[in-house]
Symmetry: D2
């Protein structure tokens, strides 16, 4: 196995999922490459070292520029907050590193475009961690659609519901809470949650032509952790939009952090002429499937427990009936990336793929301001 | 339409379901017979009159012997407590009346046998209200099994769970509580709940060869409503048994009134070589179906919403997607009984069919006393 | 009991549900009034007579004007297609009859307004059959909201999904298919399905301030049953809209007849500060409830089997655990109407209540044309 | 962190789950010990080496006696077929090694007893991998019961349903199929599946007093992989038993590999005076909980998504709403074992605990032969 030397930036929730993926992927997948955890980078030296110890990184850094400059690093993995993605990616591309980037790609479309141009100019392998594509049930959905089983698509609906920011006492900003600070996050649920829904939707159902959106900020002011003062909340607490896909299907999308009872309820459903599919992150190991071609008396939604060897990714795991969880989606994505390095068929979504999601997010936020239908800028999908 | 003059005995829970069935059946089914509610009989004259008014009976009686003697009555419907079934049925058979009887048929097998002999000697149409056969989903299950879709049957499991007698303060005996009085009910959950499970099982899976059972009475003494004194509780509060069917399949059965959280959770599941079926009274309009012959990747339990016109009984009701409820099972049974009068093909279960269930119940109670496996006495099923 | 003489117009799906409600209501509810089925009216004399026989109407008519003129009729119940509602209601109001009208009230808001004015001028009791308010689970939801258990409301989402018009071979117009003919139906899913969603939403969550909508007609031409020719389809096959309620909550609504796998999946969910509620017509006897005030470790969505005597309407039916079905919602509404006659507190929704739903539907259809946010005209809710 | 040098015997399904647990545990738990993967042992040298490479073991062995003799090994982990457990464990105890053993402990009770005596005499830490205790939802169930929330227990029911041996073409014996060979496995579903159900039950509900069982071998002969000949099948394909716990509760247990549609459906339900609990391995991240003390109108089964930081083990993983899977139960057990080494409070189940499960299995198999109720030999539970 060829070693692939990883430099990880960020040690938070996403840093952990990525480190875990690199650490486990070779136990379960037969690959030509083996990730080697060279260094983790974080501003706080002590926390960086502790993370390195816990996850088996050989070293730690406190300045990402140093990490990018290190010659013993092949790949820069960006798991730091959204406002750092572009600057790091541009530097890493200039340094000729492979780049993995946590989603969303950028703070907005134009910024994302510079990143796409940089990696394409540098010809470096690149990928964005839209991990939910690699839930086996979601990949199975993609297969079914690609096989034409659904026929003409009429409807797509997705939502991502959470309830963790309902308390007005929750501050904004700082570790773990930067997602509430618009300067760091770029947006609220649109970039955080809807971006996932959009990435999946574009993958499953093709491009979105136009949309009309509304956003709301239910709690107008929150104490900022860094300043200690009450400050205006700049993010969207909730967002919903109607859309028309290029294939003629109609869609509704919604995300919020104010839906009591839902921790991370990402769901989608797609209705076709012949069959329908539904999925739910709270039971990610199941796919719901309805096929109108089944005998009439016996038609029903099938609850498919996606844990068999003939279902995507599952032959690498345990035995039928035994479910995997959230973290495995990152392991799958790491495996596909490494496989892509070997095969020369890059794994998706690339930066270019992720830019399209960024454009949709931009159109959503714009529509919420203009109160009008907005076109999504077109680009050819990779 | 030919009138069929009904005399109903009993005005309790079951009296209401039967009266409703007779009153509605011609609205929804095209039949040659039309039930006419001639008289209701109950010991309390005032209650009998009130029931007659509410349900549209032309008259009321307080002595069932008088009712049985009335020449303007074609059919005696027995909806009074278990300990009255045999005496009434024998008299009604002697009087040449058609007889419908609420389940269980009798206090025990030998008593039931006299009833079978009486109706067969008198050659009067007869039927027992094991209504759950006529849940459309259950009838659909029967069709699937009859078509051989399940292949060889390996397992049958049924349970009927309730939680309404957990409080020690609940008395035994008297109106609404006679089911706790062994002298009136004959047994506890065995005759009340397991009898339903057994009737369905015999219908779906054929005869039971032998079984081993346990029963328990959790609350040993309860105040008797009639005497006002604490008295020993004679019924079985809970009962479970293992069984072997004649077709070689293995079974577990259980019933209790001490299962917190379950009001009337009658469930069964049947596992065959090729397919499995499951059903649940709490969502009686659904059938769960798994077919191994479905394509591997897409196998899953189908949740069939049994509300389409091509599913049993449903063309008589509303439109697809709109569910019916509990009471409709009695309407279906009434319709089938009336249809059987016209066609000469009697509706089931007849008294003879119900006697087989009685024999199984007897074997269950016997095994619980002997702590041994007991054979179920054989009889040819009608 | 005082007789209330009913004249029913229409013998289709809705005629059956209403006739059944009038026929059953006194069996289950103790009321001062007793509906008497005097006459049913339909253009086809033979079908009218057959319906009268099946449902026990004393007579039949073929001209609704004659029915309205009959002195032996107290109440006109309109169950004929949408384009007939206004003319009949106006005449019935002039004749001083009580009026029940199937939903939607009218072809559009202005027409509905004339109906409201007519019944209010005539001071006749009036009600519209938005039956889903009387699903016990939905009424329970209303109670919980009225008690303030949810706290501030953040989100409302509703959809009504069907799949029965996907085939292009399905014609438009004629018996059973007038819902596809815009001249008779007024609109497609907006008036047929969204009207239900809107009625419930206004009842549970108050008025809608503004909205933005899209509609689509997937099948552009269908053969018209009456002309035998392919004709342009004028109805909306699918419709979705975003809305802002007056209480500040955000909403998404969607209806379609092109969602494979769903027969009549009307669902709503409402998310409040403290608790959330969800409901689903395919399992109408259940309410999903999540309460954040439950102990943390043990929080979860409760699946409430609404079949207990302390839950709305259920003491009138059977015993806990035994579900009722679709038709019972009409019986409940009939009971409430009759009770309202006695108490002088009219049952809702009245024509005036239903007009508000009509205004929302109008705004939806307008927005779909203008591609803009539209305000819903305000009126005080009855 | 102190290194703990592991020698693993067996590279099959269980070898992988154990290796994974040792490899991951320090990433997620802060522990004083760190497992070091010194050596894996398997008869096939090439496979042993391949496994060592894939999982990062420093060396491999082909003779378990050599492994046990190695001084650089602290702990022997037995993941080889059932018929090897005792011999290895006895040798390892003599060598003073800590011992972990895959379940079931032994081929039968008497053999297990020698193992308990050996480890207790040698005073070596020991544990059996009954991993399902460490499903967070199952641990939560244990907490609730220990807190007395259920009150008096009336019922326990468990089943473990699979469908992978229905085909008569499936051979017995050899790699992956030794579970069908009675000489290697000791029994069929009793030791393989029911043992899990029994371990959980004893942990949650205390000891079993007596039981009556039945077993069946549906396919009487299968080709043996090693001999190439059709041979009599000696295992039990299916097993069910009734039991009475020492606390007076009644139980039903069932396991089979002939239940179409179920891959690994281990479920249990426990009904108490005040509350009930249910769990299902196919959705292992959920716990179903019903509390009768909830307000009457709003009582329902709560579907608890066990993924919050205040629920057992979950603070070590991701964020609320993101589920873990099967393999994590082994990581939890490894963490608890290591924690036990530090604290001096040994993790359970020890060999002694597991022996009690063995005695129940023995009683089950005996009862299936005698067709009588059998007492379970008593021992004090550790």
């Amino acid at each position: 196995m060829k070693p692939l030397h990883i430099g990880l930036i960020g040690y938070g929730f996403m840093g952990r999922t990525h480190a875990n993926a690199f650490g486990k992927v070779n136990n379960f997948f037969d690959l030509a490459y083996k990730p080697v955890l060279k260094a983790v980078c974080a501003r706080d030296a002590q926390k960086a070292r502790a993370f390195a110890t816990q996850w088996g990184f050989e070293s730690s850094e406190t300045d990402w520029r140093k990490l990018v400059a290190r010659e013993d690093i092949d790949l820069i993995d960006i798991a730091s907050p959204n406002d750092t993605h572009a600057e790091i990616a541009l530097a890493a591309a200039r340094a000729g590193k492979m780049i993995l980037c946590e989603k969303p790609l950028a703070m907005n479309g134009p910024e994302g475009k510079t990143m796409v141009q940089a990696v394409e100019k540098a010809k470096v392998p690149n990928m964005v961690w839209y991990n939910y594509r690699r839930v086996p049930a979601v990949t199975l959905a993609r297969q079914l659609i690609a096989e034409g089983r659904l026929g003409r698509i009429f409807h797509y609906r997705a939502k991502f519901l959470q309830d963790w920011t309902i308390s007005p006492a929750l501050p904004q900003g700082g570790a773990g809470l930067w997602r509430l600070d618009v300067k760091v996050a770029g947006s609220g649920v649109t970039g955080d949650l809807l971006a996932h829904c959009i990435d999946t939707a574009l993958w499953l159902n093709g491009g979105i032509d136009k949309l009309t959106a509304m956003t709301e900020t239910f709690i107008k002011q929150r104490k900022h952790t860094l300043t200690g003062k009450m400050e205006r909340v700049g993010i969207d607490d909730a967002c919903a939009f109607l859309a028309r896909f290029r294939n003629g299907s109609l869609a509704t999308f919604e995300a919020t952090r104010y839906a009591r009872g839902h921790k991370a309820l990402y769901t989608f459903e797609i209705n076709g002429e012949h069959a329908s599919i539904a999925w739910d992150l709270h039971d990610l190991h199941r796919l719901q499937y309805f096929d109108h071609r089944d005998e009439g008396r016996l038609r029903g939604w099938r609850s498919i427990h996606v844990s068999d060897g003939d279902q995507p990714y599952m032959k690498h795991w345990w035995v039928p009936g035994l479910q995997i969880g959230y973290e495995h989606t990152f392991i799958h994505q790491a495996a596909d990336f490494l496989e892509g390095l070997s095969s020369g068929q890059p794994a998706h979504p690339t930066f270019r793929d992720a830019l399209e999601t960024q454009y949709v997010c931009d159109a959503v936020l714009k529509s919420a301001r203009t109160n009008r239908w907005e076109k999504v800028p077109g680009q050819t999908r990779g």
